[in-house]
Symmetry: D2
Subunit: 354 residues, 4 copies
């Protein structure tokens, strides 16, 4: 059920595959919020729910020394993590299509740091090109007049739904170590990456490979919230003060703690990821069967197909769609996103309309 | 019930008057979150709940032209509003004790703007001293080498629980108009100010008097959320882009819209404010009766008394307290905060312990 | 005469073509500094020399309404002009190779603004690609989540010594007007551009075409100093306060005023430009005669040729060189820069060594 | 000779005691600029004159391990040093009247850091109040929500011409060490402080006591330039990259190196300081004799006296004055500054007019 505002204030109900943050939260989260509602807890994340959630995430990561913090959203998390880990003369290296480079309204530059870019290959950066970029910088005779690459940023799944293999991540991490800069992974849709049928990367792998990463909650069943995991005893000093300085500290930190506690109880986070993947595969198979051309091959919850503009116009009467790029004068890439909340009936209805 | 972590993981239940953000949310909010949970809504605040909440707030403010935005927390709201309304060469004028000057980890300066201070009188700035400050600046021959006062910041209630009278606000607003700078009011605890028995200031008054203010949700019954109200068709251009740039835009904007929609349905916001005031008055009367000396006279939900350190030590076995300033070697100011969720039984139990 | 430090503190004298800022200042500048030295003048640019220099530049620009400011260096000027002209949600569009994008240590990002890039063609951006970039931005459904292009930055001559034609500049200016953003031209080496034998662009042309540009002094005969020219009554409000805020205001503003007054007296600025061009042409002809391959075709004072690394090693015994990029395993691009101070004998000596 | 602009472009010659940066540079500086003018030197401070000047300053400081950098002006130096030495969550502690807090147009806040203030006593901060401020911060239970004091800033001479005694500096340094934060001294007018007849503080003392300080050139005989001295092997990593990022790196670094080389040859810096002090003492004695009331007792080149506004009006016909603060309705504090360039005849002429 998609509820839209229109001029007549009559709510219109439609199919909706525009993104993976259209519903509220998984009901177990709502239930826990309700059950704990009248308990009094100290503010700013110093409550027993945050503590419990952190412990469960440490176990899920097989990383007992992990230092974990909860923030409210993805852009905020990227800005806080990148700004607090970089020295003032450093920037962050990302694929040109990286979220931090394109769709965060300059939030990284707002903190004073440049986003340095390497080419994007369906959303991914290539280890070889990264290494070449870093080596070229250090070999440049005037590199002291340039922004120092101080961190590598990956999104996984990427903005195009693609995934790094474990081997690719290991190679990128090796390069980061060689150049002594941290590897940071943006896991806004991590649940959908971890449960992809095509991945060989697990949560403990990420904890071993990355210096810091975040486990996305907003797009994977929470009302809001991302869990930042520092894996190498490398939390920036007085991190919470800088979180506050960024305006990113919630007074009622329990709101985030309770949600992640629920997500990491009895494997809920994985279950939600698996459901979205199942729905995406169902959609994908239907699309393949119908012969639609795919823009690229995504193993996660976002599927990108090329549609004639006329068909798009027709579909939009019944479906809330996310138009991606124009391919040519008459065709556009459309993104269909499934989520933890996607109903099988909706997938079938969509396939019926196509 | 105050739930605390301790080393043995046994939860300890105590009385708690440390602050007004220790519980979750009013149950009507939780109920609405639950009822609307599976409706699909567009992101970033473009949903029907945000729209509905805005309309209700406009009506409550008697300000049909008000432009309203929802943000997650107080420091974030202050940083976003102040940064987006100031020119680059301007700073914000606040009482020395203003939240933006003391307890936001430099969030305003982080945006590049200075907090200019005038004396604090139990948390309030005085119109006369403000005017003198502004006049002195403009008369200073070298004022082009100084930070220009570009906005006035008030908190209401202040950090000390005190309130401006309508006359005081009108006089401050007159000065702001004379010097052509906006008046911004931080209403983190606004509900408790509006329902004070000693106030003559209403929400429509604030909408008329202030150029921008925010209605605090976090401390008045919401899980999180503050409603920024631009009252004079004066929203900064591309405000939402700058909200995103600050990392302050929630993907699921509905979380804020639904909460404020509930708070402004059937007067819930006022009801919650009134309850906290009733509890504060009950506490206050008990304290007066017992002869405790008050640090200052607060007409809102925060009561400040001076206690001997020995009594504090004794109390802390049973009560979670917020210690304010040391008064002398043996005495400390203690803040008792009531809230929308404070139980009469807890007030009585506290009075019993004192 | 190139004076170098070495471990034994014996000064070594060499040929030097590494850059165009290796000498002090033209002697007429030194003479004027000396003549005016004991006159007492008010600080911060409020002196008669600044006033006189501004008037001469206005006349040279045929732009009586021009508003002119003197700053100390190029990166500083770029940061101040770009930061003060952009709104907080905007970035500056530059060719990927633009100085602001590569060699200013992130000075623009440090002010909170992103450098948005379009492809570089021998240092220049192409009007068509710029227009496409701007159009794509405004057509993007999620452009409010992106950095707004708020200004176009050109360098002229570019970092590769190339020049825009008047037609190219007019077309770029037309696009800027269409998208309502200012056109800014970095003229760090403007004197060498204006006196190129291949240019059809004059100083009055620039004043008509650009919204703001700067006339480089540091690389064209001054000790330091750049003259920023706002041509359209468009100086940002309280610009000098923001100059001070950037740490860019010299107490003894006369140092800059006197220098630009001298440079714009009796056509000195053009004379210095012409000399460097004459020397560059002499060098260029010699290089062509000797059959050296040029990396690109530069009509200004910087000449880029491809040399075998072995020859470079040999040359470096006698010549202070600026190595540019590696072309392949055995070849490197070398930049030879002439300047207002280059001696004909040195050019001939260099050609003799090659 | 004071040269003023007026509407008729006729230069008016007046006495001038408004500040200590009204002339160009000492003639030995001009002479050295001239002598070295055609030597080719590498840019950005990598020249033999910078090297030589640094070595001379190290010797004058009796601090062979000192790391020295040259910047162009005072506000720039303060912003660069403070920003590069502070962590992101820290601010700098200064007396309320400190230059960084009042007259730098918010340059420190522009870098994201708060100026934390302690009371000013004729421009000086008191060790006891500093210690109390720091102790209170660390004892505050919510200090992680506050700006951390990360450095102490002193000006010496202060903005009121006053000086710290060696004992006072040692005590402040002791407190800094106790709280593990660096002590930074702004020596914009250091030459006039070092040569005061009332001081017991030498340059080697400052090198021992301070973690970083700067030796002012602009106000003590140079065209521009300040020499930053890091005394404890504590230069921030990649300091020059951050200097560039601040737009504070001069291409022709020699301009600064040559000037400081001249200032620290044969004691010129001290000689210039001594001259200004001699002139200030002559002025002071004359003022005392005439019975003028002093606003405060300054042992350096700035003398502050209280004058009736009528007398000021009369004086301004012949003298360029710097009006400080209003004392009452009819009286104003006037600052008379002498400098390295003040002529004895001018002092006598001024005294004759008073």
């Amino acid at each position: 059920m998609y509820v839209m505002k229109n001029n007549k204030r009559k709510d219109i109900i439609m199919l909706a595959f525009a993104c993976d943050y259209m519903e509220g939260a998984h009901e177990k989260i709502l239930q826990r919020l309700s059950e704990t509602n009248y308990e009094k807890a100290p503010g700013y994340g110093n409550d027993i729910y945050c503590e419990s959630a952190k412990e469960k995430i440490r176990r899920a990561c097989e990383c007992p020394e992990a230092d974990i913090y909860f923030l409210a959203g993805g852009t905020q998390t990227n800005a806080v993590v990148i700004d607090t880990m970089l020295r003032k003369y450093q920037g962050v290296v990302a694929a040109r299509t990286g979220h931090v480079n394109v769709h965060e309204a300059g939030a990284i530059e707002y903190t004073g740091h440049k986003v340095l870019t390497v080419p994007s290959h369906e959303g991914k950066l290539m280890a070889g090109e990264l290494e070449e970029f870093l080596r070229t910088f250090w070999n440049d005779g005037s590199h002291e007049h340039m922004v120092f690459p101080g961190m590598v940023y990956l999104s996984h799944p990427t903005e195009y739904g693609t995934l790094y293999s474990k081997e690719e991540l290991l190679e990128i991490a090796r390069i980061c170590r060689e150049f002594q800069i941290p590897l940071y992974l943006d896991g806004a849709r991590l649940g959908y990456g971890l449960m992809s049928r095509k991945t060989d990367v697990t949560l403990p792998d990420l904890a071993r490979i990355c210096d810091v990463f975040y486990i996305g909650g907003t797009k994977v069943g929470a009302l809001c919230g991302e869990a930042v995991v520092f894996t190498k005893n490398n939390t920036p000093e007085y991190f919470l003060t800088m979180v506050k300085q960024h305006g990113a500290m919630l007074a009622k930190g329990r709101l985030l703690g309770i949600q992640f506690d629920a997500l990491f109880t009895d494997g809920l986070y994985y279950e939600l990821g698996a459901h979205a993947i199942e729905m995406a595969e169902r959609l994908r198979e239907g699309l393949v069967k119908k012969g639609y051309p795919f823009f690229l091959d995504s193993p996660t919850n976002q599927q990108f197909i090329v549609l004639p503009d006329a068909e798009i116009a027709r579909l939009q009467k019944d479906v809330y769609l996310d138009l991606w790029d124009k391919v040519d004068a008459d065709h556009t890439v459309v993104r269909f996103a499934t989520s933890w909340a996607t109903a099988k009936e909706d997938v079938d209805a969509l396939l019926g309309l196509l």
